[in-house]
């Protein structure tokens, strides 16, 4: 059954027809060939969760190493690999793919009333490339040649002279490989938002979640190529003999930093803006109130990413840049406060003016706001350039960005897991363990990261393998390590709760929270075709528009916009959302998985310097693409 209200017999027949039309292949093969955005979202979810486990294990090992002075839990070189892999994994292989890949894939088409993404096979390809790029990265760890120059991989430390192994080659190629996936995802999201919305969903009627994902996708699309160029240059410097970063031959070590941070700072917003989107869905649901200052929040979500492109050099104050340049970037950095504060005020005012029910998802959002403000306040301190120069490369920086990246980006992910769990599984989670998991995580996270501010101000450098006793750092480091283990316990409780709830939770029904957006109008879990009728939309809070929902039920009975004659989806005009055409969507396909595998083989050969063999596999990629397009959607 596809919608909440019991259907008429005619409606049931229509839904059965849609079911047979949209249902994918059963079994394991079905997962390999699926183009269903929900299944792809789940594939992303499980894969990123696994990689989150790896990144978390790396973090815990580092914290164990640092718990007491002069420890030797791991060797210095292993420690280098651990902090490098931890950063790369959490940023490129957990937060981005968890937000855009898992949440975005599963929810975005549902929220805009679409039956699938604009390019379903390309969507599948994004996942397979992501999976193989993760495997590629962790093969390096298994072989003992994991990246070891930090996630920022500064030259000259990362050049062939100082780091002659394959470690950095794995870094460069893993980043490029993963970047292809993220670029495809970003392009996919933007086009889906532009073209696949339900008719009537003009831009001003689009949920804030979608604005956030639009902003993050645009950020990815324009920021990632900068890192790609950077890593291509480094790979060529190391393997072909170019001199982009070789000062003696006319290159520049700063070039790496400029390109890296031109990508790296927008990246911070790419990480947290989807979290803003999650917050803007959870808050209305648990306050039963529309978000205050909706247009300003929508603009702020876009603006924060846009301004993020103009602040990169604040990561480079210690490089000796001209004062006027530093001041310019300091001022630009201060501007980020404006859109950020607009959003914080809007979230807080919505909670204050509405009737807030502090269920687990909203608790995580409250925790997120606290962490975001904490991280934001220390971020503003960096506008004071001498202060920034004093704390550069200390644990103060680690504290700041973990409040942002873990507190502000990951807490909403946890909140979102609880919030949409009933939609994805059809079951309710257990509330009390949920709330306990929040408090454990909140305490653990603050115990883990807050002392880092102090130890940073005391002068403890980041990326420090160990430290001598009697510097006054011991108790802080021990507290941080205890905080790390408490955080891990909180995460395990969260996952355990969801796992048990999946088997023993109560039936959730289609809309347990009286959520605001369209996904709550369909069954939990949603059917393969998402909506039996392409829904009517008159506001950004479509599920609260009772008349529109009643009209959908009438349309199902009469067959208007059921699109039951094929594997069809509507396409609209980009701004005002007027119905423009009805397009036939592709069915399941093995080609994306095969193309992903071919690309993995190409990158594997490149990393070991077998360029001819890589070329042969590249021909395989081209043939896969020809195979992919040999059958057209309507055939």
């Amino acid at each position: 059954m596809a919608i909440a209200t019991p259907p008429t017999p005619t409606a049931a027949e229509r839904m059965h027809l849609l079911e047979t039309m949209w249902e994918g292949r059963p079994g394991i093969l079905g997962w390999f060939t699926t183009t269903d955005h929900k299944k792809i979202g789940l594939l992303y979810f499980w894969t990123t969760l696994l990689l989150f486990g790896a990144g978390g294990a790396e973090a815990l090992t580092m914290r164990t190493q640092l718990a007491v002075p002069n420890a030797h839990v791991v060797s210095p070189s292993t420690y280098d690999e651990l902090f490098s892999l931890h950063g790369i994994t959490m940023i490129f292989f957990f937060i981005i793919p968890m937000t855009t890949g898992a949440f975005g894939n599963y929810l975005l088409p549902l929220m805009i009333g679409a039956r699938d993404m604009a390019f379903p096979r390309m969507n599948a390809l994004s996942y397979w490339i992501f999976l193989w790029s993760g495997i590629f990265l962790y093969i390096s760890f298994a072989l003992g040649v994991a990246p070891n120059a930090g996630w920022f991989d500064y030259v000259p430390l990362a050049n062939g002279h100082y780091d002659p192994g394959r470690n950095i080659d794995f870094y460069c190629l893993a980043i490029i490989f993963n970047g292809i996936s993220s670029t495809l995802t970003a392009a996919q999201f933007i086009v889906t938002i532009f073209k696949s919305r339900a008719p009537g969903m003009s831009f001003n009627r689009m949920p804030l979640f979608c604005f956030a994902f639009l902003a993050a996708s645009a950020g990815l699309l324009f920021a990632l190529p900068l890192l790609t160029a950077d890593t291509i240059f480094l790979f060529l410097d190391r393997n072909v003999g170019t001199h982009f970063f070789d000062v003696a031959s006319g290159g520049s070590a700063f070039l790496w930093q400029h390109l890296f941070w031109m990508f790296g700072h927008p990246e911070v917003y790419i990480l947290i803006v989807p979290a803003f989107g999650i917050a803007t869905e959870i808050i209305p649901a648990f306050t039963q109130r529309r978000v205050t200052a909706f247009p300003l929040v929508a603009i702020a979500e876009l603006l924060v990413v846009f301004i993020g492109f103009g602040v990169w050099a604040h990561h480079m104050y210690a490089t000796g840049m001209a004062t006027i340049t530093a001041v310019f970037f300091g001022a630009a950095t201060a501007m980020v406060v404006i859109p950020s504060t607009i959003q914080v005020f809007a979230w807080c005012m919505t909670m204050i003016l509405g009737t807030a029910r502090f269920k687990t998802p909203l608790l995580f959002i409250a925790g997120f706001i606290f962490m975001f403000v904490m991280g934001g306040l220390t971020g503003i301190m960096f506008v004071a350039i001498p202060f920034d120069q004093a704390v550069t490369d200390t644990y103060f920086i680690i504290a700041h960005f973990h409040y942002i990246i873990f507190g502000a980006a990951v807490f909403p992910i946890f909140g979102g897991m609880y919030y949409w769990f009933p939609k994805v599984t059809g079951k309710l989670y257990f509330e009390l363990p949920g709330q306990i998991s929040f408090w454990i995580l909140f305490v653990g996270t603050n115990l883990l990261f807050f002392p880092m501010h102090i130890v940073g101000l005391l002068g403890m450098p980041r990326r420090q393998y160990t430290y001598p006793a009697n510097l006054g750092w011991e108790s802080y480091n021990l507290a941080e390590t205890i905080g790390g283990y408490i955080t891990a316990a909180g995460i395990l409780l969260l996952l355990g709760n969801l796992f048990v709830s999946y088997f023993r939770g109560e039936e959730a029904g289609p809309d347990p929270w009286h959520g605001a957006t369209l996904e709550w109008t369909t069954t939990s879990p949603p059917p393969p075709y998402n909506y039996a009728v392409i829904p009517k939309v008159s506001s950004a809070y479509a599920n609260w528009d009772e008349e529109d929902r009643a009209e959908d039920r009438r349309k199902l009975a009469t067959g208007v916009l059921v699109l039951q004659e094929g594997h069809e989806q509507v396409a609209v005009t980009p701004v005002d959302g007027t119905l423009d055409e009805i397009v036939e969507m592709p069915h399941d396909s093995p080609w994306p998985a095969l193309l992903g595998l071919s690309l993995f083989l190409v990158f594997s050969m490149l990393v070991i310097g077998k360029y001819g063999v890589a070329g042969c596999f590249a021909i395989g990629c081209v043939l896969s693409l020809f195979g992919w397009h040999s059958k057209e959607p309507q055939e």
């Binding site: 699309l221 072909v240 170019t242 290159g251 980009p574 055409e581």
Partner: protein, 217 residues
């Protein structure tokens, strides 16, 4: 109700575009559509991303130049002017050909589509063959590993040639597809690839301009 969702049109008049096969159906479907298809938007996203990649490469070229007292460094030859400009002018003639092919597809003139695509393919392939040969000769005389200038010069040029090569593959695929008749899917692909090709031509002008700038000042 139906008027509202279809923007003033009856729902029956909204084209089922990708279902359309054959000249009259495709002509009708494409004419009824008010904006570009998703494929065109997808290509726009791709070229936006590629545009940033090239901006980074060209920016690198100038960044290194302005940090270097002599550019090109002593011992490296100055870039040639005449032939690259002639070649890029020749390549530019393929842009109207591709645009013409898309226009012919919209009007249902299938033979014209095939002819223009084939003509464009010949010019594109000729350009590519010459450029690859020239690249090979140049890199033998002045290796990429000479200095930062040669590094930036060859990488920029190679990246541009790679994009021309991808365009040729696209064109081959289009010729194969249109040899089997016309569908909206193919027309959409042609529209998107035409956009890509305009981008490649613009990119080539920008790359050649960047490279030739080394001979100025």
């Amino acid at each position: 109700m139906t008027d509202y969702i279809a923007g003033g049109r009856r729902l029956e008049d909204v084209p089922k575009t990708t279902k359309a096969t054959g000249v009259p159906a495709v002509q009708y479907a494409v004419a009824r559509r008010t904006g570009p298809p998703a494929a065109w938007w997808g290509m726009l996203m791709l070229i936006s991303s590629e545009g940033v990649l090239f901006a980074a490469m060209m920016g690198t070229f100038f960044y290194l130049r302005f940090n270097d007292p002599q550019w090109p460094p002593k011992g490296d030859p100055e870039p040639k002017f005449i032939i690259p400009l002639i070649m890029v002018a020749v390549l530019s003639t393929t842009s109207p050909m591709m645009q013409g092919a898309w226009r012919a597809a919209r009007e249902g003139r299938l033979m014209m589509v095939r002819g223009l695509l084939f003509l464009a393919l010949i010019v594109q392939s000729g350009y590519f063959a010459y450029e690859v040969t020239d690249f090979g000769h140049e890199i033998q005389k002045t290796p990429i590993s000479n200095d930062a200038y040669t590094s930036a010069h060859y990488v920029l040029l190679a990246a541009d040639h790679a994009h021309v090569f991808v365009g040729i593959l696209f064109n081959l695929w289009l010729i194969w597809k249109f040899s089997r008749g016309i569908t909206t899917y193919r027309a959409n692909a042609l529209q998107a690839i035409t956009l890509y090709w305009h981008f490649v031509v613009l990119l080539t002008w920008a790359v050649i301009g960047t490279i030739l700038s080394a001979a100025v000042g």
